[in-house]
């Protein structure tokens, strides 16, 4: 399997990369790890005339703590996120999600920004960034802007990024006091993609009620989403088993559920409810452990 011919560019800094992206427009494609793009090029489903390899741009590879937030460079690899001690203690949802992606070789090369900008409906990261209300930092030759995660994913393989923009960084809130988070995934046995993936972050109040809840679901619809009815049914409430189960029955409300050879829409909708409950339950368990410590 040999891709079509292309011209290769390897900019050394972000300024040079944004210039190339602006210059080539729709003829150019960014390579940010390549574990979605290269297979597509080999199948000739993608045939960019110019391949702009940004993986050598060191200034986009970092994990930085900024008060109660983390800023993560778009070219940080899944392996770096999986193995970051800082994130394991201060934002554990990210390493837990990273660990579930593909396999070791894929995690060595694949990047957070690359995955998000590709917006595969079965990718793992979209669930986490949607659940955390992350902020995407997009940069172009003419300026920069911040896009909330809820507006970032537009449709199947489509994001709010403009052709001349590069996703440079992702900002997420650290785990607050009395908080807990978790990622629960039903993994496709062959591809490793998420048939259903649910990320959850919860924060308890002093009485053990759910003060805040954010849930992100991937694999179920054309793009990752927040199940509003599920969250609404739990926010401010005491999270008993029965209430949890009832709330999670709304995990796929209003979503056009995907259907394929592996999982029919009905089965996938069922999995969404089951994995939503598992993710929220695990997040609650961890939040309650964290409440006892603090």
């Amino acid at each position: 399997m040999i891709p079509e011919s292309f011209e290769y560019h390897a900019p050394k800094n972000l300024a040079e990369a944004t210039r190339l992206v602006g210059q080539f427009g729709a003829d150019g494609k960014l390579l940010a790890g390549g574990h979605s793009l290269v297979p597509l090029m080999k199948l000739r489903l993608a045939a960019p005339k110019h391949l702009i390899d940004i993986t050598g741009i060191g200034e986009l590879n970092y994990i930085r703590e900024e008060g109660d937030r983390f800023e993560i460079g778009a070219l940080t690899t899944h392996f770096q996120l999986e193995s970051s001690g800082l994130l394991k203690s201060r934002c554990p949802l990210l390493p837990e999600t990273a660990r579930e992606i593909g396999d070791v070789q894929v995690r060595n090369k694949g990047t957070l920004g690359g995955s998000l900008a590709h917006s595969d409906p079965a990718a793992d990261w979209p669930a986490a960034v949607v659940a955390l209300d992350a902020e995407m930092h997009a940069v172009s030759a003419s300026g920069e802007r911040r896009i909330p995660a809820k507006d970032f994913f537009v449709d199947l393989l489509a994001t709010a990024l403009q052709p001349e923009e590069i996703l440079a960084a992702i900002r997420v809130p650290a785990l607050p006091a009395r908080g807990g988070d978790a990622y629960a995934k039903h993994c496709h046995p062959a591809s490793g993609f998420a048939v259903v993936g649910v990320a959850a972050r919860v924060v308890l109040d002093e009485r053990g009620n759910l003060a805040e809840i954010g849930v992100g679901i991937t694999g179920v619809g054309p793009k990752a989403y927040r199940p509003a009815a599920l969250e609404e049914a739990l926010r401010g409430k005491s999270p008993g088993r029965k209430r949890l189960e009832e709330a999670c029955a709304h995990a796929a409300d209003g979503v056009e559920v995907n259907s394929d050879l592996y999982a029919s829409a009905e089965y996938r909708g069922h999995l969404a409810a089951v994995y939503a409950r598992r993710a929220v339950e695990k997040a609650l368990e961890r939040a309650s452990e964290n409440s006892q410590i603090s």
Partner: protein, 154 residues
Amino acid sequence: MKIRVKINGAWREDDVAPRLLLVHYLREVAGLTGTHIGCETSICGACTVLVGGQAVKSCTMFAVQADGAEITTIEGLAKDGQLHPLQQGFWEEHGLQCGFCTPGMILSAHQLLARNPHPTREEIRKGLEGNLCRCTGYQHIVKAVEYAAKASGK
């Protein structure tokens, strides 16, 4: 495009087309056919090599991306006619039958032991999740990696 890479300790320079995959470069340009092509869709791991010490699937990377990098293939593991502990382990523990997946399996195991010199059986299985074997049922491969971990620890 001109690229310069260090393969198994020796630098070489070649002029390659940007669309040449690293695995084709290794096999057809550098003549190192120990790296196998299996699924060609980044699933099976037969083409795994180390680039800058990291296990990568060389069918999912262009040779131009490796410009300036150090690459280790299966041919680079034995030293002075002595098998690498992992190779010895696969021999002793019957870690292969047909042998097609073995080069990739060994290089993934190489990275696993570099990151975690004393893995549990479960960690070995997790560390080799990106490599498929259709013969052994994996049990002997896990034992082979355990053998190497022990042999390297001496």
